[in-house]
């Protein structure tokens, strides 16, 4: 078993690949997503645009498979069951019940012409039939769980009458209505202000602790990952490049991409660097990936091997990285004496 972290496995992705078949060519949206989510664990899937992190989450949910031009290979193992070999019903049964999803744009995920009560009740009725009073009580309880105190007013409201943060709470309540075992959260706070983001992250953390639900949080923000993650999975150009506990990722990342991504976030206190150590170039287009390691054109450590062979995901310390020249051990060698405080 690759991941040595404790806890029973709930979700495992093994070499997941998602291809978009176009008449002229095949575009690899995800090439090799490999990760594991244990029960009660928050795994943060971090990456920039085009890394395939959102596609991965949508594939787990079974949303990508709805398009006939999408081909999915590799394993999606949920609670010991292999999902990818099953048909649509398999996904349909799990979707919204054992696996629920929260999206980036809370306002556009809600239907503008129905009240919150109606939309929230719809999700509930799929699972349990209740009397009117019992249903209302259950809805208020759900809203209370996501920190909404004036539930009566919110139930009567239409989505546009609520703020973005409030809509996201409603979306989370909706996802929780079926008591899922895995919550997929695709950039749930990206559209929100930081003070509201802090509230939502706190909420997700609390829900996880109380219900033992697992969370796969997709984000582009290393800071969000640092705040919440039990495990961090970094994706680049459609594949997992690093998978490690936060202590390891944020202390000394093994993959040069992870290290570079962290280095280019300026500090909020202390001295400012005269020039930020930016990663040169830009994220490659999935239909025009470079040979070998997809990061090699932007990597200072790249050698001929990197430019010809794509590195496999290899175990390093308590994590794993896909790199021919991980930074292991070189920290001490590279850092000149007397520079670091």
């Amino acid at each position: 078993m690759r991941n040595s972290s404790s806890g029973e496995t709930l979700l495992r992705l093994n070499n997941l690949a998602v291809n978009l078949h176009r008449p002229d060519r095949t575009v690899p949206l995800v090439r090799n997503a490999t990760l594991r989510v244990a029960r009660g664990e928050v795994v943060c899937l971090v990456g920039e645009s085009g890394s395939g992190k959102s596609v991965t989450a949508r594939t787990i949910m079974g949303l990508m498979q709805l398009d006939r031009r999408i081909g999915v290979t590799g394993g999606i193992e949920f609670d010991g069951e292999e999902l990818n070999r099953r048909g649509d019903e398999q996904f349909a049964r799990l979707r919204g019940k054992d696996i629920a999803m929260v999206f980036q744009e809370p306002l556009s995920s809600l239907d503008p012409v129905f009240t919150i009560e109606l939309q929230l009740a719809q999700g509930l009725r799929r699972r349990e039939r209740l009397s009117r009073q019992a249903e209302r009580a259950r809805l208020l309880e759900l809203l209370n769980d996501v920190g909404i105190r004036d539930g009566e007013r919110v139930l009567r409201s239409y989505p546009h009458q609520l703020s973005g943060g409030m809509c996201q709470r409603v979306m989370i309540a909706m996802a929780l209505a079926a008591r899922p075992r895995l919550l997929l959260a695709d950039e749930p706070t990206t559209a929100l202000d930081v003070t509201i983001q802090a509230q939502i992250l706190e909420l997700l953390d609390g829900l996880r602790r109380e219900s033992g639900m697992s969370v796969l949080l997709v984000t582009h923000d290393m800071g969000v990952a640092a705040d919440l993650a039990d495990r961090v999975v970094v994706m680049y150009a459609g594949r997992t490049v690093e998978d490690a506990p936060p202590e390891q990722v944020f202390r000394h990342a093994e993959h040069p991409y992870t290290a570079g991504l962290l280095a280019c976030i300026p500090p909020l206190e202390g001295d400012r660097p005269a020039v930020l150590p930016a990663i040169p170039g830009s994220v490659p287009d999935p239909s025009r990936l470079p040979q070998g390691c997809a990061f090699s054109p932007r990597c200072q450590r790249a050698t001929d091997r990197c430019r010809s062979e794509d590195p496999p995901l290899l175990e390093i310390g308590s994590g794993a990285a896909a790199c021919w020249h991980p930074t292991t051990g070189e920290e001490q060698l590279a850092a000149p004496a007397g520079v670091s405080p």
Partner: protein, 286 residues
């Protein structure tokens, strides 16, 4: 890959694949061929059918297709000659009327949409009023008022098509005007005229181009209808509409008189609108 590439992917997952049918290309090429042929025929009809289309040969009146390729009309004129030589007028009227409609419609739509306020209100009400009349009825009124001649026919058909161009243009301008690059142009201190011509207009034109191709076909039909009703110009060579009309009394005895001009009109209009479809697909993916 950038943000919109991700969006494209997201959209692609929802929309069913378009243009799977490769036959569309074939159909478009055939349509293009037909339109090109009609244009060449309109310019140099003599190349295709030598002879005087107006020569009367009463002894051969109402001859079925056979000896003369498409038969003759009630005066014994060869239908083949008439259709080939009548193409010019139909094509000229179709193109000129559309050009007039595009020019007027774009100016009004741009003006109203960009200026807003009183100008927009006045232009809007006038267009609304014009829109109350069905296009052909409007053309009919104008043609009747101006009297029959080719320029008047062009004006009648063209003006009747102005409202739709103006409407589409105004809507485009309203959405383009609010886009960031227009604000950027304003913040760069450019003059209004430059902003309108260089930034707003080119980005508003795509649906107009498509509408124009459809409109050429419609204009040919409208002109034909007016000619059919006797409001077209009195010229030596009848246009396709007049031919169609003149065959009407003989539909049961000499079907070919109306049928062949009818086929010519139908094929031309169909081809042009197919080209319009193709153009729309192209421009959509800019």
């Amino acid at each position: 890959m950038s943000i919109e590439a991700v969006q494209t992917v997201a959209i692609a997952t929802r929309a069913a694949p378009r243009r799977r049918f490769n036959g569309q290309l074939t159909v478009t090429l055939v349509a293009l061929g037909w339109v090109a042929l009609v244009l060449v025929v309109a310019v140099v009809p003599a190349l295709f059918a030598a002879g005087d289309p107006t020569a009367l040969q009463p002894q051969r009146a109402l001859a079925a297709p056979g000896e003369t390729p498409l038969g003759t009309d009630q005066f014994g004129r060869s239908l083949w000659l008439l259709i080939v030589h009548g193409a010019r007028q139909s094509v000229i009227v179709g193109l000129a009327a559309t050009a007039l409609a595009v020019a007027l419609g774009c100016v009004l739509g741009l003006w109203g949409g960009y200026a807003g306020g009183l100008a927009d209100m006045i232009i809007g009400r006038v267009i609304d009023t014009l829109m109350c009349f069905p296009g052909v009825l409007l053309a009919l009124i104008i043609a009747a008022a101006l009297g029959p001649s080719i320029p008047n026919l062009i004006i009648a058909v063209g003006v009747a098509a102005v409202p739709q161009f103006s409407r589409v243009m105004r809507g485009q301008v309203l959405s383009v005007r609010g886009r960031l690059f227009v604000e950027a142009a304003r913040s760069l201190g450019f003059r209004q005229l430059r902003i309108i011509l260089r930034h707003v207009l080119p980005n508003s034109l795509a649906p107009i181009v498509v509408l124009a191709t459809i409109s050429v076909g419609v204009a040919i039909v409208s002109a034909a209808s007016l000619s059919f009703l006797g409001l077209g110009p009195r010229t030596d060579v009848p246009d396709w509409g007049q031919l169609l009309a003149s065959g009407q009394p003989y539909l049961s005895s000499a079907w070919w008189i109306s049928t062949f001009p009818g086929i010519a009109i139908t094929l031309t209009v169909l081809s042009i609108s197919l080209l319009g479809d193709w153009l729309r697909d192209r421009l959509d993916t800019d």
